[in-house]
Amino acid sequence: MNNKESQKVLDRRDFFKKTAALSVTAIAGTSLVSSNARADDPAIMNNVPWGQKWGDPVTANRYGVPSKYEHNVLRRNTKLLASGNFRASIAVAPIQESMGIITPNGLFFSRSHGGVAHVDPHEYRLMIHGLVEKPIVLTLEQLKRYPSVTRTHFIECPANGGQEWRGPQFNSIQFAKGFMSCAEWTGVYLKTILADLGLKPEAQWMLAEGSDNSEMGRTIPIDKVLDDAMIVWGQNGEALRPEQGYPVRILLPGWEGNLCVKWLKRLEFSTEPWYCKEETSKYTDLKPTGKAIQHFYANEVNSTVTSPSPEIDWTHLKDGDIVEIEGLAWSGMGTIKGVDLSFDGGKNYVEAKLKGLVLPKSWTRWSYIHTYKKGDVLQLTSRAMDDAGYIQPTIDQEVSVMGVEAVYHRNAVETWEVNAKGEVNHVQIRS
């Protein structure tokens, strides 16, 4: 069948062929396999069980939950990243199933250094002190009385992709790129609270400290504090989840997730930085020179194909099917300006199309409509650019400066290989 024919309105014969094929895929294992391409679809012909009896009353599920059929859409862990009996560990988001640019709260990736704390909101206090004229203690109610702003931003662990400096490791988009999520956050700009506290001119750094078991802290430069740093309590229209620091965390749009301290208890201003554990022993990028980059703040411009993926591949597609290649692009240094897509692992690129809202320091959806040719081997590589001028490096370009021991901030292009059967494998194109 040529392209022109395939784009015609489907005739009845085609419809049933497709339906039969889809039914077999969708409910393989049942006895529905029919050799008659013209067979009527039982899903249409028969009454369905949920159509002939009462559904749940509205009193069921006072807090709604997903359909029980969606039970495989989950955060996942690996045994390799199980430090501290999964208390100094990460659960990654199923971005192969993600839609649009918002991660539902129950699927938002979760990273903690001493387990997920459960903070009593009545006992919550935030202290701001150090180089300010008027230090302050706030209860949760007092904090939330400040005028709020709502912003859509991704949060990404800078170790997203950090296991793959020396070669591909995860045959999974969830694990290769799922150390991140995106949500709409509600809180107050730190500069709004500080406007009254009288920041002293010699203040250069701010310590943000959590109240959790590890008392996780990080040093933040004053530039970010006075720019877009937020103290947030809302996530996608409800209170932060405990995994995201309930009741309050710091949000530094675009910067390392680790800097966005959860279960926030204290902010202190100083002339000198603190040298916290997570900005010295970890979250530093060792280069081949032997010097490590410290205070590496922003997650750089990045992108990946999310569909197809090793998890949800193209084995069900037929020759000539028109399919949407989809992906995410994001930059902690600005707004996505464009995404290029390569079918040959980065040798040649075409422009992909951005979709939906394109917001600063947010996930951005992109897509490309493709006519699938059964048997073709494709190496799908995406490459994003942002309005600060950054463009994703090739693996060779990034490694030539950073070596392969940096762990964090790996943003070279990713390649997903579609084999002749339509299966998808994670590969790297490099010298």
């Binding site: 059929y69 490791q169 990028d285 590496f296 240094m333 392969v404 390649t415």
Partner: protein
């Protein structure tokens, strides 16, 4: 030229920031300055100044900037509250308590409270990091090891002794975060002892003296610790000129392996690869995903949970059944005479007479039968 512009911009940025807090947000002074200033951010990216009541795509309420300097929703902390929470320990000794502890005591505490996770002599294991891999000064030299071209070569050793820039971090973290399941339970002397032990297993010295098995550490000696990798980090973050240095570092994409189209990078569209590149595939790789990967939309295996028939009756049945065929009512006799299997079947499938299937619940058949038993007899078995 670019560098000069940038310097001016940074100066303007600092000036604008200070102006914000000395003059308040209401003043129009410096508006043009700050518009320019906020375009370059310390991280090398862009930021979005408020222009015409918008920052990037978002509207902002201009009243907030106007009135923010008048909002003070909390209270001043007491001296004791500050003391209770301000417990961080900085490299210059700020926050470091008085006290002392010996390597010998440290080893005893280590064996009692730490070894199960951090391994013998801090060798690691149990999913927790190692604290030492040997002599700190020798291992610091491994930091130039890079398995870039030779994947089988030794990698760099990044343990406390060989990598960390400051000893204060160790004291602070042990005091605040250790032992992991019972944090903030160690006395200052115990922390000194553990720090002494960690220095000992890293074969470190203080002021020319080896931290041997007899060593006793105190505050004065602690402040003389010089970490072997103290100068192993960039950009510089110490001293009054730290921030301009950090800004300059991230203004140059080459410092951190980035490609910037405004700094000479090229967006290649055709024939972009060297002939030397190959497709590298996963060799073994990382697996062991929990739960196993799946995108199947089937019904999950459900564990049968027994329900309280009275509770179910109250929520799902009472509104109709209280007035007809109530629990234990004589009206049931005729139905029960048809045999309980018939009653069960009608209850489960529903009847034309108005009984919804399973009373509109989603209970299992077995569970719903216990509800039927209750309604027909008035008793819970």
């Amino acid at each position: 030229m670019f560098k000069l512009d940038r310097k001016l911009i940074i100066t303007a940025s600092t000036a604008a920031a200070v102006a914000l807090f000395t003059l308040g947000c209401g003043g129009s002074t410096g508006t043009t300055e700050s518009k320019k200033a906020s375009k370059i951010s310390i991280d090398g990216g862009v930021s979005y100044p408020v222009v015409n009541d918008k920052t990037g795509p978002y509207y902002v309420n201009p009243q907030v900037a106007q009135d923010a300097p008048k909002i003070y929703n909390g209270r001043v902390p007491t001296a004791n509250e500050l003391k209770a929470w301000n417990k961080d320990i900085m490299p210059d000794g700020t926050g470091l308590p008085e006290g002392s502890g010996s390597v010998e005591d440290g080893e005893e505490i280590y064996d009692a409270k730490c070894v199960m996770c951090h391994g013998d002599f801090g060798s690691g294991g149990g999913g927790y990091p190692a604290l030492s891999k040997g002599n700190a000064y020798d291992l610091q030299k491994t930091l130039t090891n890079n398995r870039w071209k030779d994947p089988d070569a030794d990698g760099p050793t990044r343990e406390f002794g060989s990598y960390w820039p400051q000893a204060s971090t160790l004291f602070w973290y042990i005091k605040d975060g250790m032992p992991h399941p019972f944090s903030k339970s160690l006395s200052d002397d115990e922390v000194y002892a553990l720090v002494a032990y960690v220095l000992n297993i890293n074969e470190m010295e203080i002021d020319g003296v080896e931290v041997d098995d007899e060593y006793v550490l105190d505050r004065e000696k602690f402040l003389k610790i010089k970490m072997p990798n103290r100068n192993g980090f960039e950009p510089n973050i110490d001293g009054p000129n730290a921030l301009p240095g950090v800004r300059a570092y991230y203004a140059n994409a080459k410092n951190f392996g980035a490609q910037n189209l405004n700094q000479g990078a090229v967006r290649c569209m055709k024939d972009c690869q060297k002939a030397s590149v190959k497709t590298k595939r996963i060799n073994g790789g990382i697996t062991g995903f929990l739960p196993p990967m799946s995108d199947v939309r089937d019904l999950p295996a459900v564990k049968e949970v027994k329900v309280d028939p009275k509770e179910v009756y109250k929520n799902a049945c009472a509104m109709c059944h209280d007035s007809y065929l109530a629990p234990g009512s004589d009206e049931w006799a005729g139905y029960v005479a048809e045999g309980m299997d018939t009653v069960y079947a009608k209850a489960i499938k529903g009847t034309q007479g108005g009984m919804p299937a399973k009373g509109g619940t989603s209970l299992s058949d077995a569970n719903f039968k216990t509800v039927v038993d209750y309604i027909t007899t008035g008793k819970v078995k």
